[in-house]
Symmetry: C2
Subunit: 113 residues, 2 copies
């Protein structure tokens, strides 16, 4: 997320959910996570490395992700992340939350008077 880009001002707090969601699609390494998020979001979200890696360590510390060094298809070493059971529950909770929140925001934005 590029701070020069006003489009990312709202992302605070959603990064963890997005990362958990992408990891939930299957084991994946950090660098690929940011590419995947960028791709799916049609270039709207560009996760900076200074945000990504701290986030991954945070999620691992909380027991939501599990890391393992493996080789990529191109023969490089990379840290592959998988979702733990706790991580899956956390993701579900965050998604429910997001939906409530975005509904409530929509309510306020639609208020006319």
């Amino acid at each position: 997320m590029n701070s020069n880009d006003p489009k990312t001002e709202f992302l605070k707090g959603t990064l963890d959910m997005l990362v958990l969601k992408v990891v939930a699609l299957g084991p994946i390494h950090g660098y690929a996570i940011s590419q995947r998020i960028q791709q799916i979001s049609r270039d709207l979200f560009q996760i900076q490395q200074g945000s990504l890696y701290p986030a991954l360590h945070r999620l691992e510390d909380r027991g939501w992700l599990q890391a393992e060094w493996r080789n990529t298809e191109t023969g490089r070493e990379a840290k592959f992340y998988t979702l733990t059971r706790k991580g899956r529950k956390q993701l579900e909770a965050e998604v429910r939350n997001w939906e409530q929140i975005s509904d409530a925001v929509a309510l306020i934005l639609r208020t006319a008077e």
Copy 2:
């Protein structure tokens, strides 16, 4: 927004937009803004005073809100805020942003594989 409440984890960055939106409905003082947000959001958002007043000063410093001391209906002194022209533009920009962001988040959350 109560930090103990996981429901508010996503709110970072949206407070300013919500405040601008509520002020856009008509001149209103700070205390009433938080009540209004709580009411419209059906108690989901509860803005703490330690978040509200710094936010109002921030928005005023940026020229998006204008403050004026007036009396409330009950005869008390209160600081009424109105949206400036800059503030209206800012609100429009933030709403467009929010919509893009929430669409992109929805895209990612709906990704199955």
